[in-house]
């Protein structure tokens, strides 16, 4: 117990890279005609390079259609990458077969977005949460039932709900059941695909706090996929901003929220509602023009140049690379914002 509380201290040990994605790509082919010829591809994820450090929470943010969910599904190998490389704990898992991947699935698990769709309506809670043990042939000390009940207790559910069906639970409770299932195999990495976006705002905080408590207790590493920037600010250690299948900016949470460098991040952050009316009037709201371009035929050069107010000729022709602009702060932009403010104190 004492060791647990020690490791649960606020300054979690953030260590080496647990998961590394290098130039990760996923193109969904578009087939037309009688012969199903490939006429194009949706470039959902197009060259992501990032790493997830042991014990941290990395958030992937971006608007819908930017490839966040696809990235999550690539990391858990639910879909096959088109290109690039994924290493988990130093092991290349990019193109592992179903069979070779199976034992590794204990280490990398997923929390799903929609708690109404992620639980099989015909299975009892006991069956759902016990499925990982059965599927992975894990022997439990006191039987599967006991293990499931311990898990239910862990996520704040009544262990006597073992024989109940998902439809008897609320959205928040269902998400807890999903989390219990995720935790069953004691994974190292959890990819959480919008874990709270389907929930009531009042429930969101509970589930977010549960995820944080579990992270402290079991030394979990999270890849959190989200679009709610307030939630992201609350849970993340680092944040990666995605736009049209590319990473625009990666930075520590405070650095990103206080000194965003990429114009897209600046625009995103300016859209976060501020509850304080006095502060609201002082800030500059950036309204982006136009829609997100199609990922079938993304813009040349910088993918954001069609909507960027700082765009110049070079942005259309030359793609900016994701480079270190400050320690631990990477952005892919020819004309980054806040570059000179790095050393100054945080801007309110």
């Amino acid at each position: 117990m004492s060791t647990k509380t020690e490791s649960a201290a606020a300054d979690r040990r953030v260590g080496d890279d647990l998961l590394v994605a290098t130039d990760l790509q996923k193109h969904f082919p578009i087939r037309r005609g009688l012969l199903q010829r490939q006429v194009g591809a949706v470039q959902a994820v197009d060259g992501l390079t990032f790493s997830v450090r042991r014990g941290e929470t990395l958030s992937l943010v971006g608007e819908s259609g930017c490839g966040k969910t696809t990235t999550g599904r690539l990391l858990t190998r639910l879909i096959e990458p088109t290109g690039g490389k994924i290493t988990l704990d130093g092991r290349d898992i990019t193109h592992l077969s179903m069979g070779s991947m199976r034992p590794l699935r204990r280490d990398i698990q997923m929390i799903f977005q929609d708690p109404y769709s992620s639980l099989n309506p015909r299975h009892t809670v006991g069956t759902i949460v016990g499925a990982p043990f059965r599927l992975q042939n894990v022997k439990t000390e006191h039987g599967v039932k006991r293990a499931v009940q311990d898990l239910l207790e862990l996520v704040g559910l009544n262990p006597e709900h073992y024989n109940r069906y998902p439809h008897e639970f609320s959205g928040g409770q269902r998400q807890r059941i999903g989390i219990a299932r995720t935790l069953a195999l004691r994974p190292k990495l959890i990819v959480a695909d919008e874990p709270v976006s389907a929930l009531d705002v009042s429930i969101q905080a509970q589930v977010v706090n549960l995820l944080e408590d579990l992270q402290n207790e079991f030394d979990l590493t999270y890849v959190m996929i989200a679009h709610d920037l307030s939630v992201v600010r609350h849970v993340s250690d680092r944040v990666a901003v995605m736009y049209l299948g590319k990473i625009m900016e990666v930075a520590d949470r405070t650095a990103l929220y206080e000194r965003p460098m990429h114009p897209y991040t600046v625009a995103l952050l300016s859209a976060v509602p501020i509850p304080d009316t006095a502060r609201r009037e002082n800030r500059e709201r950036i309204r982006l023009q136009g829609d997100v371009p199609s990922p079938i035929n993304p813009p040349s050069g910088c993918r954001f140049h069609t909507r960027c107010w700082k765009a110049q000729e070079v942005c259309k022709t030359k793609e900016p690379l994701l480079v270190d602009l400050a320690p631990g702060h990477q952005a892919a932009c020819h004309f980054p914002e806040n570059k000179d403010k790095v050393t100054t104190s945080p801007v309110g």
């Binding site: 179903m98 199976r102 034992p103 639980l119 099989n120 599927l135 599967v144 006991r146 008897e168 195999l185």
Partner: protein, 334 residues
């Protein structure tokens, strides 16, 4: 794999609250969707009436099957020519209303004077047996094909879907007539009657599976995109586990409903085949065959009434029950 029962017992003892109340703590038992559907079905009076009629019909069919051998009652194939009016040339039964009497409550047939009630009873087991076994064949093939097509998609789906189209476009009636004509009476040492029953089950069952197949395929297509399938895959589940443990339980409701609705269709189809003379051979009583016989006596329509009524009531009962079942299993689809 489950915990031994003592564990729950000791847990109940350890719980002070339960001990305080002096009551054995019972584990909270959830109601499954099936149980909820059953509660809903029980409240549906029309569907329950249909169910009662179906149960009665099944009992009658079993009784008729046994009566043939065990009980000494009026035999469905026994002639009662003493009751036939041979003098005016119509060969109609003597007496009013087709010869209704205490001994023959629904009257007797013209010409031979066979008891109509006995023949209706005797025909019931053939109708129900063929219809339900043919449905079973359809469900088995349709579910397997539909789930495979829906889950695997791609060229497998194309192949199976086109096969379904071919089966649906097949001139079934012509095929049945041709097959009955070609097939010898004695195959595998079975009696001619059994061969015919088997043949009808095969024809009806084997050509009706695309109806079930299409429904199962459609349901599978939507189910396989649900996140619980991804959840199972991310836990390392293999294809068969996903198909049989995750998807199949969710397909049970639509399969049950369409099977219940397929039975009356099959009853009608069997009657039609018997009516056309390619069904069960005379003298074995079938409802379709009785209709066929009665059609020659159009001046005495009441002989058509009884087998027609039997088919009507049976089909109606199954349809009402099937509709009620659908409402009970999926109240949102109303």
């Amino acid at each position: 794999m489950t915990a031994p029962p003592e564990v729950t017992g000791s847990a109940a003892d350890a719980d002070p609250e339960a001990a305080l109340q002096g009551m054995p703590k019972k584990a909270i038992q959830g109601r499954s969707l099936g149980q909820i559907a059953w509660l809903r079905l029980k409240r549906d009076k029309v569907a329950m009436a249909g169910a009662v009629v179906i149960v009665l019909l099944v009992l009658v069919a079993i009784a008729a099957l046994l009566a043939d051998r065990v009980f000494d009652v009026v035999h469905p194939n026994e002639f009662h020519q003493d009751l036939i009016d041979t003098e005016n040339g119509t060969l109609a039964p003597k007496g009013a209303l087709g010869g209704m009497s205490g001994a023959h409550p629904l009257g007797i047939e013209p010409v031979n004077g066979r008891d109509i009630l006995a023949r209706i009873f005797a025909g019931s087991w053939i109708s129900l047996l063929i219809a339900s076994l043919a449905t079973l064949v359809s469900v088995a093939i349709g579910t397997t094909m539909g789930i495979i097509a829906g889950y695997f998609g791609g060229w497998v789906d194309t192949l199976i879907s086109r096969a379904m189209d071919v089966f649906l476009a097949f001139p079934l009636l012509v095929f049945a007539m041709a097959l009955v004509g070609v097939l010898p009476d004695n195959v595998f040492g079975l009696s001619p009657e059994m061969v015919r029953i088997g043949l009808l089950i095969f024809i009806i069952g084997f050509f009706n599976w695309p109806y079930i197949g299409r429904i199962v395929r459609g349901q599978t297509l939507s189910l396989r995109e649900r996140e619980f399938v991804d959840a199972a895959r991310s836990l390392g589940a293999r294809g068969p586990y996903i198909l049989f443990r995750e998807l199949l339980p969710n397909l049970f409701a639509p399969i049950l409903v369409y099977a219940t609705l397929l039975i009356p269709t099959n009853i009608l189809f069997e009657s039609a085949l018997s009516f056309l003379g390619v069904g069960i051979n005379a003298p074995t009583a079938t409802w379709g065959g009785m209709l066929s016989d009665a059609s020659r006596f159009y001046t005495m329509p009441h002989f058509m009434l009884w087998p027609g009524l039997a088919i009507f009531v049976t089909v109606l009962a199954f349809n009402l029950f099937g509709d009620g079942l659908r409402d009970a299993l999926d109240p949102r689809a109303r």
